[in-house]
């Protein structure tokens, strides 16, 4: 008799424990997810990749190769050639020759057809590129499959159509290309950033030397294969992987007539300074610290989804990430409860798994930076909230995190973390929200959540930010200009406004 009572007690205790440990929100029921990894078989990796110069993969003059890894497993994927000054010089000369002898002589319509070909080939190889992007960068396959690759395709397709219509974009001007463009892209959207840079440059009649980021060169190099398959004239696009030094050689090469850089504000400032007085054209897409503003009249469940998407999309490695949450005081408690519940459901793990929400941090270096900033947050007195999700033993990982009790002056509220870390602050009046949102040197993006249309237009017009999302976040489209105010850089990418960076007008 007494044993039965004990059993029952134990059972009740055990049930209570299960209940307590269960996430308070459930997506798809209480069962565990079976692994659903995307197959890697479709990706044909070389052991070693050369530089792509003059339409061929060539051995680097530097004679140096570096290993590129999968940040989720730390396994080496391939060796990649590293460009030095001589390699950059060879690439710029190849680009210049292609520009003078072939590309600038082509009609816009013919240029456009090459770019359409590239778009189509990329669509055909969508799976290869999605898997490779995830392997080399650590982002969840559902993002590379559903966002990165389709958007990259869309950018080529969109800009292909501009090639023979540029005079319509610039009435009363005669439009001509600039020449050789040096383009430096980051590691957070490696293929997509290559597309953002290459597509408008080619459409406007320029040729390109592209330096992909040191941790994520592979999709750019596979894109080079597509250029070969498309019969793009040799030298029209050249790809020279390497680190900051390689980029510096490109920026300072006297025959690179235009520099386009996406990356940190610190490096952007160095570039702006170093080309001063050279007459080179420059566009910069730099850091951000976007405010996501939730008003009390917002649809709160949708807003919480927007916050989640805003900061945990691509592990927060997004320049326009909604890394500051400004929530109206009257709904702060509700929003924070919902946020904590939702964070607990995020699945962190194998980026190739189709159920994964949060993938691997791109590199060890970035992981260290995120850890430093999170320690700073704790030291400065903010309260840390972190998902209790399991962390894989190998690879670079950081659990979805948010801070409450954050002051405007805290480093986590002012500096770009570029990781899955959200700083939550509150406000009482719309004026206070605007003041806090704008009180930062950055101005890339912002989010507004309210059910009142007139409030949306009032607040969005007050945001000092280049892209403002109302009741949504992190939406992109090739027809929609993207770029920052203030220290988030200058120039736009996409849309009619994006073309301006790649043409000379007279």
């Amino acid at each position: 008799m007494s044993t039965t009572i004990t059993d029952q007690k134990a059972r009740t205790e055990a049930l209570k424990k299960v209940e307590a440990e269960k996430p308070r929100l459930e997506f798809g029921g209480a069962w565990d997810y079976a692994p659903a990894p995307e197959s890697k078989e479709h990706v044909r990796l070389e052991k070693r990749y050369g530089l792509f110069i003059g339409g061929e993969f060539v051995a680097p003059r530097s004679k140096k190769y570096f290993e590129t890894i999968n940040p989720a497993t730390e396994e080496v994927l391939a060796e990649v050639a590293e460009g030095n000054a001589a390699d950059i010089d060879a690439a710029v000369r190849a680009a210049e020759q292609a520009y003078e002898k072939r590309w600038k002589k082509l009609s816009g319509a013919q240029r456009g057809k090459y770019i359409y070909r590239i778009a189509r080939l990329l669509q055909e190889k969508a799976r290869e590129f999605a898997v490779l992007e995830t392997m080399n960068g650590g982002k969840p396959i559902k993002e590379s499959r559903d966002v990165d690759v389709p958007l990259a395709v869309a950018h080529f397709f969109y800009h292909a159509g501009w090639a023979d219509k540029l005079e319509y974009a610039f009435p009363r001007h005669s439009v001509s290309p600039i020449g050789v463009c040096g383009q430096i892209i980051p590691w957070n959207f490696p293929l997509l950033m290559a597309a953002w840079k290459i597509a408008p440059a080619l459409a406007c009649g320029n040729t390109v030397v592209l330096k992909p980021a040191e941790t994520t060169p592979l999709t750019s190099l596979h894109l080079a294969r597509i250029f070969q398959e498309a019969d793009l004239p040799p030298g029209v696009v050249n790809i020279v992987p390497g680190a900051g030094e390689t980029g510096a050689h490109l920026v300072n090469h006297p025959r690179a007539r235009k520099i386009a850089f996406t990356g940190s504000t610190d490096v952007g400032k160095i570039i702006q300074r170093s080309i001063a007085g050279t007459g080179k054209r420059l566009t910069l897409e730099l850091g951000g610290k976007a405010a996501n503003i939730i008003f009390e009249d917002a649809a709160l469940d949708q807003a919480v989804e927007g916050i989640i998407n805003g900061i945990y999309f691509n592990q927060g490695h997004v320049c326009c990430a909604g890394s500051r949450l400004l929530v109206q005081e009257s709904v702060a408690a509700t929003v924070l409860t919902k946020l904590a519940d939702r964070v607990a459901t995020l699945r962190l793990g194998d980026p190739l798994d189709k159920n994964t929400d949060v993938g691997a941090i791109n590199s060890k270096m970035q992981l260290e930076k995120i850890r430093d900033m999170v320690s700073a947050g704790v030291e400065e007195g903010a309260q840390l909230h972190q998902s209790a999700c399991a962390i894989p033993s190998r690879g670079f990982w950081f659990p979805p995190t948010f801070f409450t009790g954050v002051a405007q002056s805290h480093r986590i509220a002012r500096e770009e973390i570029f990781g899955p870390v959200l700083a939550v602050m509150t406000f009482r009046t719309p004026e206070e929200a605007v003041e806090k949102a704008n009180n930062i040197p950055y101005g890339l993006s912002a989010g507004i959540w309210t059910d009142k249309g007139s409030k949306i237009f009032k607040i969005t017009s007050k945001m000092k930010a280049g892209v403002v999302w109302a009741n949504t976040f992190n939406k992109f489209d090739p027809s929609s200009p993207f770029g920052g105010y203030k220290e988030s850089g200058f120039g736009r990418e996409g849309g009619v406004h994006g073309l301006r960076a790649y043409v000379e007008l007279s």
Partner: protein, 297 residues
């Protein structure tokens, strides 16, 4: 003979005519041959002792511009257009005194001076008319492939620094100031260093045109002293560099990196060529903001 009452030329900051806090001055002489010196021993006729603005004056000008800018930007396009048009009216009413100044300071003929004042008035009228049109031409509605209403509009940048050309001092100043103001920016201008009198006189036009105080601030002084402080100022978000000095332009471009300032360098051969003016000058000091709005029920 009635004794002439001479004018004291001052800086124009925050809607007020002020002397430099530094107490320094620069003598401005008449162009050779335009007016006789007072005595045989004097080489040139002294026209005025003008304020030589200091770094502190510059900072005060930026401060006042920054606080005036949001209110100016929020004025309707119609009102901004009318205020710019009123500047043209005020300039027209004072055309004779501007012509005198241009003849005395630059040695222009009467016809040459009249031509520049006329062109300056016309330029103000031209930009006044842009106030409620440039947004429609620079803005776009973007056909995104998802269920959003997505549009891009130009907005003012904030405080814009203008390094005015040495000559033509009046027409050059107006050609850069008007397009900066019409989109809702505030301006801090370093005037022509060698011929600042007509530009300083323009402050009287600005002050009587209902342009809110602090929206346009005019400083006379030494460019090589002031330009670096303008280019490095964290609250100046863009610079129109029409100074025409290659070394100074290079230093502006380099210093601008401190806060990722936008710099537009102008090398304009002929300010009288109206065709080379217009929308591009306005666009250079606007930011494109793109807004995404969901479509649904």
């Amino acid at each position: 003979m009635e004794l002439e009452v001479r004018k004291t030329y001052k800086l124009y900051v925050g809607g007020e005519f002020i002397r430099t806090e530094s107490g320094r001055y620069d003598p401005i002489y008449a162009a050779v041959g335009s007016k006789k010196p007072r005595s045989a021993s004097a080489q040139r006729l002294l026209l005025a002792n003008i304020s030589r603005a200091s770094r502190k004056d510059l900072r005060e000008a930026v401060r006042t511009a920054r606080s005036a800018q949001p209110d100016w930007a929020s004025k309707s396009a119609y009102l901004k257009g009318q205020i710019l048009y009123r500047m043209a009216e005020m300039l027209e009413g004072r055309a004779a005194s501007f012509e005198d100044l241009l003849r005395e300071t630059r040695g222009l003929t009467a016809a040459g001076a009249a031509r520049e004042v006329r062109a300056s008035i016309d330029r103000l009228v031209h930009y006044a008319g842009w106030s409620d049109k440039y947004v429609a031409l620079l803005g776009t509605v973007n056909p995104v492939a998802s269920s959003y209403f997505d549009f891009s509009v130009p907005e003012p940048m904030g405080v814009v620094g203008i390094v005015a050309p040495e000559e033509p001092d009046l027409l050059g100043l107006i050609s850069h100031l008007a397009p900066v103001l019409v989109s809702g920016n505030a301006a801090v201008v370093l005037l022509s260093e060698s011929r600042p009198l007509a530009s300083l006189e323009l402050a009287e036009v600005l002050a009587t045109s209902d342009l809110p105080a602090g929206v346009a601030n005019l400083l006379s002084g030494h460019k090589d002293e002031l330009v670096p402080h303008l280019a490095r100022h964290m609250d100046v978000l863009a610079i129109a560099d029409a100074g025409g000095d290659a070394a100074l332009s290079k230093s502006i471009a380099s210093d601008a990196a401190v806060n990722v300032k936008r710099v537009r360098r102008y090398q304009i051969r002929d300010y009288f060529d109206g065709a080379a003016q217009g929308l591009d000058f306005i666009e250079a000091f606007t930011e494109i903001k793109t807004t995404w709005h969901p479509i649904g029920v």
